[in-house]
Symmetry: C2
Subunit: 445 residues, 2 copies
Amino acid sequence: MQYIILSGGSGKRLWPLSNDVRSKQFLKMLPGEDGEPESMLMRVYRQIRAVDGRAEVTIATGKKQVSGIRNQLGGKVNICVEPDRRDTFPAICLAAGFLRDEQGISEDEAVVVCPVDPYVEQTYFLALQEMAELAVSGTADLVLLGMEPTYPSEKYGYIIPSCREAVSGVETFREKPDLETARKYLQQGALWNGGVFACRLGYLLGKSRERIGFSDYRSLYERYEALERISFDYAVAEREKSICVLRYQGTWKDIGTWNTFAETMDREAMGRVTMNETCVNTHVVNELNIPVLCMGCKNMIVAASGDGILVSDKEQSSYIKPFVEEMTGQVRYAEKSWGSFTVLDVQEESMTIRVVLKEGNSLHYHSHEHRDEVWTVAKGTGTALLDGVKRQVFPGDVVSMPAGCRHTIYADTELQLIEVQLGRGISVEDKVKYDGDLKEDGVSG
Amino acid sequence: MQYIILSGGSGKRLWPLSNDVRSKQFLKMLPGEDGEPESMLMRVYRQIRAVDGRAEVTIATGKKQVSGIRNQLGGKVNICVEPDRRDTFPAICLAAGFLRDEQGISEDEAVVVCPVDPYVEQTYFLALQEMAELAVSGTADLVLLGMEPTYPSEKYGYIIPSCREAVSGVETFREKPDLETARKYLQQGALWNGGVFACRLGYLLGKSRERIGFSDYRSLYERYEALERISFDYAVAEREKSICVLRYQGTWKDIGTWNTFAETMDREAMGRVTMNETCVNTHVVNELNIPVLCMGCKNMIVAASGDGILVSDKEQSSYIKPFVEEMTGQVRYAEKSWGSFTVLDVQEESMTIRVVLKEGNSLHYHSHEHRDEVWTVAKGTGTALLDGVKRQVFPGDVVSMPAGCRHTIYADTELQLIEVQLGRGISVEDKVKYDGDLKEDGVSG
């Protein structure tokens, strides 16, 4: 059985912990199995495998997230990279093509498509399995998941089922309603649309052929940026006749805002935090290595990261998006496939960064046109490659890379580097990449 | 006319902006004359000189504050350094000895002793001048300043005057009362004790001889640490017969807590701060170079510095002290006579610091036993001295100092260094100082 997990979102609503490269699904803030906090991504993967140890997971996502996914899940999942963000229908078509042409999956195999960000219990994945069975057994070509609504929400689309059975046909779909209309839907027995679909792989490929002339994965990838932005709901589900919906009654939270995110936390504070006894219903997440002291905070969210500090009333925190859009600051912390980086200091003509390379990893071989760089090795041992010349480095060693110098470094053990960038107008765009990989020993002096 | 300004206090109540070396009087958060924020220290000095352009100012303080005072006032003031903190009577005796023996001040000259931290208008210093005139004209040996109380405060000592004239004798002193007693004092026409004294220099020296056997400044300095801790009020004022009090009715704020400090700010936010329209009566000070976003904050103080982050209800902020006492973290930002340092990153075996040296300044010539250090020059030009050998440095240059290497650097222009310290158990105690000063060209290779 194949899972396609749609991993999108810029994560502005959970600023300052989420940013352009660290979407909310990567935040390690949920209570994990072994007491260690885990991310939404890690949680969903763990839950899928707990229900079906042989399930194969493909993550459909943009380029920016690849490194973060590899950092958290390593090689355990496939990643289908969208060259551009084009909404769910093109993303699902591309992933379907990827499964057939790159992974060799049979068109008869069941596929479940689900978002990465619902906070759910194991029973949700049992329901997904049931959906897949309904799809392959021929009950309907397309199977949806309908959440039993708990309140008249304006945030969700609604599915009007044709009867009140656990599995039923679909009368019609309704877009996000206003409060009054939502109340009427609830009286009519409507269900929230959970954004989950199950079908055979061949069904997805057929729809791709019909609507966007799909032939194979590679050619779709090439013309992906020219595809129309359209959702799977609109392009497929709302037009399908052979369709059914499975009711699901378990916990299902959309943790897209600080307010709902806080509800999933199993502790009030994460990181270096002191709260005095007059704090009430307040959640604090501190990723900085300086202490946070909260006194007399009521119904608040406090979150601090290298990107900034949020101090918000819980209810107000849902209005964060426009403010964050104005803060077009540089990303100050990011997890990458090879490790992570943290911006420590930004001055007019210099920037200081802590780079952590995981053992056995290396940076791309690259150079900068407009800035010099200096590494001080703070921890670990590694092999630097500078204009084709290899050099072993140890703690306290310094590597100077003037503008134009091609450089990379390989971590023999976990490496911590303090990198000082020097020059005017330091920019992430100023990077020329070269072939050559220290791990493969392909380049040497 | 001589001013002795008592500059004490650890500044715990204004954490995280104040710390052991940056007491509250150094925080540049008050609205200055030219729109630039100024500190309490800078403000008091400016106000004194505005009233009397020839006034001489001596700051009585501990060792830790010397560098900060020089940073803000340069050589404009004298500094009388207390070898240890011993309360106000010993501090005033030492300063009196310093004025006579080190500065050659006549015993007949008027001296005004005042604290560094009241937030007052110019009229306050006019009153201080009047006090000095009363003291030298012989109205009384000791002249006090009595503040007209505006409410029955439990925070202040009270002076009971013998009549209701502008200048009157003193009936008696009262320690900080409870609320009920404070109300009675107000009905009796009592005044708050402002902690200000005026007298002739000879008067102070006489009291020093009487109580602690003062002979001269140097010998008092030597045995300072053995002196009894006692306040000037208790040791002198409360026993004095030839005493009078001058009434003062102008603005007088004790800005020792965040709540009162916020009242003096002329803006709601300092630094990179965004507050949405639902914030009410909230003050935010951000010294970090990452943005702070506040939403729906009501009656709050938010303060962020390299030492930590405070998020507090205004009323609760007065109870901060015990919490801060538990956070015995390292000082992460300090202003020194030669410039400033900011701790950027602390890891198990390394620490990264930004050092800014003002033009024409240098560090002490020193070495470390247990750590290596590496400087990357981020900005400016300078002259490094390493084990006696001089070397010119420019942006991008790297200076490596293994443990034991004697080192300093002189700033030809303002210098920014990124210093990486490497080793286990990095400590400020690990420092050996040497003679040798680059400015005087006394040491060379």
